[in-house]
Symmetry: C2
């Protein structure tokens, strides 16, 4: 089982992410992407529900850190502490969220801090891209990881 | 049909809010509250999923403005523009979100601006209270209303 399979299974254990139809797209060492179909995620206007955009970006950030630690054989509980979200344009199609380290942050430094101190914080950037190249929504979120003994 | 019934129906038309089991608690002219049962909103750790807390607070803010305008016989499409969320404590029970005007804001001024200019913005404060009186999560969000012609 690859790390992606484990994350997909975790997402399927959460009732709401199962209802959202989330699918792990992949992790390339720097970016992690999650996909969602529009149909189960529409609002009353027929475009993507803001709660789905926010959840998908937050979960993409969480998944990024989960997989980055797993790739370094580190095990921690990871929690979101705070986030800022901007809703920029409606989404009328299936969508995906991509999470990366926020500017000035690094997955290596995050993992090193966790290994050394048993606790580490990191800011993550998330976005839901539009087909034309812009963003439908963006997220800046701060996560904390606490090592599992 | 009261305004609360209309809002409850709208929430039941959105697949994800139906999956969350949301229920309108009420609007007293200043605060609007929405309730959610824990079971459909758990994460993989057995406490409330962050996406559910964020969605509930954002929807409470949206509902506050919907009902405030409806009470003044104004009709508008209301969208969330941005939000800041803090996750402060895990939630191990059924929960509710309460939305009010953010400090320095007023529902009367918001409605007056909409009536005069056809467009208005307002910042809303949201919280998920804990049984002991503290907050499990807080939200500051900015909404825009555009009058329906």
């Amino acid at each position: 089982m690859t790390a992606n399979d484990g994350l997909q299974r975790t997402l399927e254990r959460i009732p709401l992410t199962r209802a959202m139809g989330l699918a792990v797209e992949g992790f390339d060492g720097e970016a992690f992407a999650l996909a969602a179909p529009l149909a189960p995620n529409v609002n009353d206007k027929g475009c993507a529900f803001g709660g789905s955009l926010a959840s998908l970006m937050t979960l993409a950030g969480w998944g990024l850190l989960e997989l980055a630690l797993e790739a370094r054989a580190l095990h921690a509980d990871i929690y979101v502490q705070d986030s800022s979200i901007r809703y920029l344009a409606p989404v009328w199609h299936d969508f995906r969220a991509i999470a990366t380290a926020a500017p000035g942050e690094s997955l290596d430094a995050f993992a090193a801090a966790l290994a050394e101190r048993g606790k580490a914080r990191m800011r993550v950037h998330g976005r839901v891209p539009l087909p034309d190249g812009g963003d439908a929504a963006t997220l800046e979120a701060r996560f904390v990881a606490i090592a599992r003994r």
